[in-house]
């Protein structure tokens, strides 16, 4: 996926192998109702192409020069002065229904101002809107300026967002592993609470804090050296406070599945994820002989079990028991895993 801002590529990300979910819901402009996110500002000249425009075409569009209308699926000029219908100039008849957005001067003729509360344009679902190949979304955007917001003093606090427990799921795992779908509300709360665990438990303990810093340094910037690898390794170098909380997204979604990832990665030459798993398990063991293992699902069910641990003379975890299966690890002097069990036949790690 490539993002262009003012005709110039500003970001790009590969997302190989991810299926595109074809929604039968109406197309909405100006809001993400499930996240309760509402656009505040002006949109103009919204276009959808059923193909990826080239960089040159994007530049031309930005400069107001015409490009081929091939595969143009929708074009809402938003030039209407009155009424609730937003005309589609593509010729395919995907007219929109405007509920609340106000006509204002736009980039080209008129645009629509969305108030950030409940304004939106909805477009009825049709088969030719369910794009599952290359596509381009394009619009002029003016985000309304708000006055600056204040400071306030908060103690030992996390801040969550309020999407419904069962409304949204995310693939909480990286691309190289079988996904688990999980309630975003669950994962979000879990992530934020584990920021507090990180700060309260790890940062106040010199040996845990040192180990955490060491793990980040060892992992470097290679994404697959991190259990939560889909964001790229640099995020944890730039923002190490996300390291522990990000592991929790995987660990709480399915701890054993996360261990499978770590072991799989180890045998592919990525040796850090297993160290990260054991570090997380160590924190949750509170130095004892048992740690917690978790699972979460799409609708907010959360389960926890105990997993017995073994430790070496340095009190470092070198064994963890999963039912009748025992995972044993060989550690070096620094506490890093140098050998771990082979992948199981029924191994939970299934690579694409």
């Amino acid at each position: 996926m490539r993002v262009y801002l003012n005709g110039t590529e500003s970001n790009a990300k590969d997302a190989p192998g991810r299926p595109v979910t074809l929604s039968h819901e109406p197309l909405r402009i100006g809001c993400m109702p499930d996240f309760n996110l509402w656009m505040r500002g002006v949109l103009d000249e919204v276009k959808v192409f059923g193909r990826a425009l080239s960089a040159d075409e994007i530049r031309c569009e930005h400069q107001g020069q015409s490009v081929s209308a091939a595969n143009l699926v929708c074009h809402w000029k938003m030039d209407e002065s009155i009424g609730t219908v937003v005309a589609d100039s593509s010729g395919l008849g995907h007219y929109g229904l405007n509920t609340g957005a106000v006509p204002v001067p736009g980039r080209i003729n008129k645009g629509l101002f969305f108030d950030g509360k409940d304004d939106q344009v909805t477009v009825e679902d049709r088969e030719d809107l369910r794009l599952n190949g290359s596509m381009t979304l394009e619009t002029w955007v003016f985000v309304a300026n708000e006055s600056p917001w204040p400071s306030s003093g908060i103690s030992e606090m996390v801040n969550n967002f309020g999407c419904k427990v069962d409304q949204w799921v995310e693939n909480s795992f990286p691309d190289d592993i079988e996904p688990r779908m999980v309630s975003v509300f669950c994962a979000g709360n879990c992530h934020e609470y584990n920021h507090v665990v990180d700060a309260y438990t790890i940062w106040r303990n010199p040996s845990l804090a040192a180990r955490e810093a060491q793990l980040i340094a060892q992992a470097g910037t290679e994404p697959l050296q991190y259990l939560r690898s889909m964001f790229g390794g640099t995020i944890f170098r730039d923002a190490p406070q996300e390291f522990f909380a990000s592991i929790s997204n995987e660990y709480f979604t399915d701890s054993w599945h996360t261990l499978d990832i770590a072991i799989s990665r180890f045998h592919r030459g990525y040796r850090e994820p297993i160290n990260q798993f054991l570090f997380f398990a160590d924190v949750y063991s509170q130095g004892g002989g048992v740690t917690k293992v978790y699972t979460m699902d799409e609708v907010g069910h959360i389960a926890v079990n105990d997993a017995p641990l073994g430790r070496d003379r340095g009190r470092r975890i070198n064994r963890i028991t999963r039912g009748n299966r025992v995972y044993s690890f060989v550690l070096d002097d620094a506490g890093n895993v140098t050998d771990c069990p082979p992948l199981e036949e029924d191994g939970q790690a299934q690579f694409r």
Partner: protein, 348 residues
């Protein structure tokens, strides 16, 4: 037009600087110079103003009473704003630099004037509070920063138990007096009054933080803010976990159950979580979100939750740089919108 307005603003500042209000025991020279310095520091960090203000604020001959009278004049009689920049500076002499004698005098000297400032704003603007908070940055920053001062005093201050008790009773009466703003039984229209919900959060946090928690206090706090008045499970959550949910009564049963379950299965010894906000329910989400600031003493961590609609945010350093032994980091989170969390190891 802009030039004309700028000239007028300078004239007003100059006039105030020369106004000879009779401050109790501060010499007229010190009073005028400190006024000028704090006016300067209200707009940003100016080292020469810092140096001059430090000299005056640490003079041994000035007592807590002197400071109470002077700060009352500065913040209330002449109605100077307590801006974010001024809060940033004042933390250093009031809590950070210098010795405990200085800290105690300044903290005691600030309590009454700041309370008067905070409550006066509510009384003055009660009919249009949301609008005024949104449109007037001086008022907004003054009232929020005044309450932040009480959080700082609660967590880092040196004042005695009787003073803390008095602050607690002030908060209790304040919450009782303005249920439309501070009662959990009353949902706030966050579209119409987006900052009132945040003020409520700030007031609650200061109220909860002021005295060491006991079971009796926990119950009294819940009753004062009518916790669970609109949704009883929030009171049960508070009773069970000692964590205050601040979310404008929009969490549903399933969400509350998830939060409850997570807090039961994450060992309590691993965390010191006391407050949870739900950002979507405190403001409409298309707007930039507030900075949420925490200073903690006794522990090892300062938290800065800086929320914004931008991507990666710039550093805002409200903590003593000299004490930092970890770098300050910002990051955009994966949540809708963007959340940035900075955590700084506290001064030891």
């Amino acid at each position: 037009m802009g030039r004309v307005e700028l000239v007028l603003a300078l004239l007003i500042v100059s006039f105030e600087g020369k106004d000879s209000i009779a401050y109790a025991s501060l010499t007229p020279e010190d009073s005028a110079r400190l006024t000028s310095c704090l006016e300067s520091l209200s707009r940003g960090w100016v080292q020469s103003s810092v140096n001059q203000a430090n000299d005056i604020l640490t003079r041994p001959r000035y007592s807590a009473t002197d400071w109470r009278v002077w700060f009352d004049s500065y913040f209330n009689i002449t109605d100077h704003p307590y801006t974010d920049d001024l809060r940033n500076y004042l933390w250093y002499p009031v809590f950070g630099w210098f010795d405990d004698t200085v800290h105690l005098k300044l903290q005691k000297g600030l309590i009454d004037p700041m309370w008067k400032k905070a409550t006066g704003i509510i009384a003055t603007h009660k009919e249009q509070l949301g609008h005024v908070l949104y449109c007037d940055p001086d008022v907004r920053q003054s009232v929020l920063n005044a309450h932040i001062l009480f959080v700082q005093i609660a967590n880092e201050g040196m004042v005695d138990t009787a003073t803390r008790e008095a602050v607690y009773q002030n908060y209790k009466a304040h919450i009782d007096a303005w249920p439309q703003f501070f009662s959990d039984a009353v949902a706030i229209d966050v579209d119409e009054q987006p900052l009132v919900a945040l003020l409520r959060v700030q007031v609650w946090v200061a109220y909860v933080d002021t005295l060491p928690m006991t079971e009796a206090l926990k119950s009294e706090i819940a009753e004062t803010i009518h916790l669970g008045g609109a949704k009883g499970e929030k009171r049960a959550f508070w009773d069970r976990h000692g964590i205050l949910l601040m979310e404008n009564n929009r969490l549903d049963d399933a969400q509350l159950e998830v939060m409850d379950t997570l807090l039961r299965i994450i060992p309590a010894d691993l965390r010191n979580l006391r407050f949870i906000t739900v950002r979507d329910f405190l403001t409409h989400t298309s707007s930039p979100l507030p900075i949420l600031l925490k200073r903690q003493t006794g522990g090892a961590v300062n938290y800065y939750f800086w929320l914004n609609d931008g991507s990666v945010l710039n550093s805002f350093d409200g903590a003593p740089e000299a004490g930092l032994d970890r770098p300050v980091h910002n990051v955009s989170s994966w949540t809708p919108g963007t959340m940035s969390l900075r955590r700084i190891m506290a001064r030891q």
